[in-house]
Amino acid sequence: MSGGAVPPPLRANRCAAPGFRSSILARSIVEVTRMPDQSHERQPTASVQQRVAAIEAAFDERGMKPGEFIEEFKQLAEEKWIPENGARVVAKAWTDPAFRQRLLANGRDAVGELGLSMPAHHRHLVVLENTPTLQNVICCTLCSCTAISIIGLPPDWYKDLEYRARVVRQSRTVLKEMGLDLPPEIEIRVWDTTADTRYMVLPVQPQGTLGWSEAELTKLVTRDSLIGVARL
C-alpha cells in the first residue's frame, strides 16, 4: 500500500511470526473440541473495554507487541501531536512575511522548516488565510480527517455527528451556536477534508500585538482558531 500511515508500512505477512497460521489452526481445533456449540445462543455484547482487551491480547499472543506501541502512541498523542505546533507555525507566519509566503505556497515544506512533519499519506498541507472579511473553517463530513501533527488530534465535537452534518450547510448558524457570531460582511469558506490533503487555518493577528515575540504570539493561538471555529 502506498498511502499508509507513519511509519512506513511493512508487508502484511510481517506481523505473522513463524508458525503463525498453524498456531491459529491449532487453537481453533482446541476450541472446537473444548467448547460446546454456542452458535445458536445470543450472548450480550461485551463492553468496549473487554473488546479492546480481547484485541490487545490477541495481538500480544501473536508477537505484535501492542503494549510497547500503546506507550509510544500515548507519548505521540500527549507530546507530539499537539496544537502548539500549529500555534508556532502561525506565530512565525505573523512575524516573517517571507515564511508566510512559503507557507501559503507549500504548507508541508514550510512547516518542515520548523521541524514539524506530517504522516506520509498527508501529501499536501493547504494553509487557509483568514482576513478581516473572510473566515475559513475546516471539517470532515465523512469521518474525522485532520492535520493531526499540526493542529493536534481533533477534539470530540469535531468528530461528532452534529458538527459533521451541519457545518457544511449551516456554517454561520453553527459558528454562532459555538460562540463565533460573525457579522454579515465576513464571508465563510468551509473546507471538507474528503481526501488526504490536510488543512489549517491561519488566523488574523490580533490587534495590538505587533512587535510581540514569536514565543508570546504562540501563546495566543488556540486549537479552535486553527480549525476556524474561533477568531483571536
Binding site: 498511502g3 502484511a12 490477541a58 505484535m64 457544511v168 465563510i188 474528503t194
Partner: protein
C-alpha cells in the same frame, strides 16, 4: 456506498456539543484502541482506506449509537477477522461476550476510464455515480457543479485502495461550490470547498 456515515448536510441534528476545553480522549481504553489501529496500519494489516470503509460498513443503527472510538474498535476487529489475523470466535471468547463486526464489503472499482486534467478556473460537474463500495465523494456534491481552485499531489484512488483493486494514483481537485447551490433555499450562504478525486469529475462544456 450511500452509507449512514455520509453526514454532510443531513438535517435533524441539534447543536454541536462544544466546549472550550474539549478533549480528544475521555477514557483510557480509547487511547489503547487508537494505538492498536495505528499499529495494525503500521504492520501493513490494512490501509487507511480499508479502515475508513470498515467503519462505513457498520450496521447503521450500530454506527449512530457507537461512540467515535467504538467505531475505531469495530473497524479494527472487522479487518483483523477479514484478514485472518484472528477469528470472531476467539475475540468473543476473550471478550466474554458478543463482539459485533461490520457488514461484509461489496466490490470496489478502479479509476474512471476517462479522466481529464483540470486547471484552476475550470467548471466541473461531479459525476452521478452510485457505487456499492468505498467512495470519498460526499453525497451532497453528487451531480453538482463547481469551480476548480487547485490540484493536489496524486493519492491512491480510495474506491480501489479500500478493496485491494489495482488502480493508478490520481490527483484530487479543490473544487469550490456554493452552499446555496448545493441546498437551494436551504443553506446558510457560504463557499464549500471539497477535495474531489479526478475520477469523480467531468468538465462542464
Amino acid at each position: 456506498m450511500d452509507g449512514i456515515h455520509d453526514l454532510g448536510g443531513k438535517q435533524g441534528f441539534g447543536r454541536v456539543r462544544y466546549s472550550l476545553k474539549a478533549q480528544t480522549f475521555h477514557e483510557p481504553w480509547e487511547k489503547r484502541v487508537n494505538a492498536l489501529f495505528l499499529l495494525a496500519v503500521k504492520l501493513g494489516i490494512f490501509n487507511m482506506d480499508e479502515y475508513r470503509h470498515a467503519i462505513e460498513r457498520m450496521e447503521p443503527r450500530h454506527y449512530l449509537s457507537a461512540s467515535y472510538y467504538e467505531r475505531t474498535l469495530t473497524s479494527l476487529a472487522t479487518l483483523c477477522v477479514e484478514k485472518g489475523i484472528v477469528t470472531q470466535e476467539e475475540l468473543e471468547r476473550r471478550a466474554q461476550g458478543s463482539f459485533p463486526l461490520s457488514a461484509p464489503s461489496a466490490p470496489g472499482r478502479s479509476n474512471a476510464a476517462e479522466r481529464e486534467r483540470f486547471q484552476p478556473g475550470d467548471r466541473v460537474r461531479v459525476r452521478v455515480d452510485h457505487v456499492p463500495g468505498h467512495v470519498r465523494m460526499p453525497g451532497y456534491i453528487r451531480g453538482k457543479t463547481g469551480v476548480v481552485v487547485s490540484e493536489s499531489p496524486a493519492y491512491p484512488f480510495p474506491d480501489a485502495h479500500a478493496h485491494g483493486v489495482k488502480a493508478a494514483d490520481e490527483p484530487t481537485y479543490d473544487v469550490r461550490f456554493r452552499a446555496e447551490e448545493l441546498w437551494p433555499n436551504s443553506a446558510d450562504p457560504a463557499l464549500v470547498h471539497v477535495g474531489v478525486f479526478q475520477s469523480y469529475l467531468e468538465r462542464v462544456r
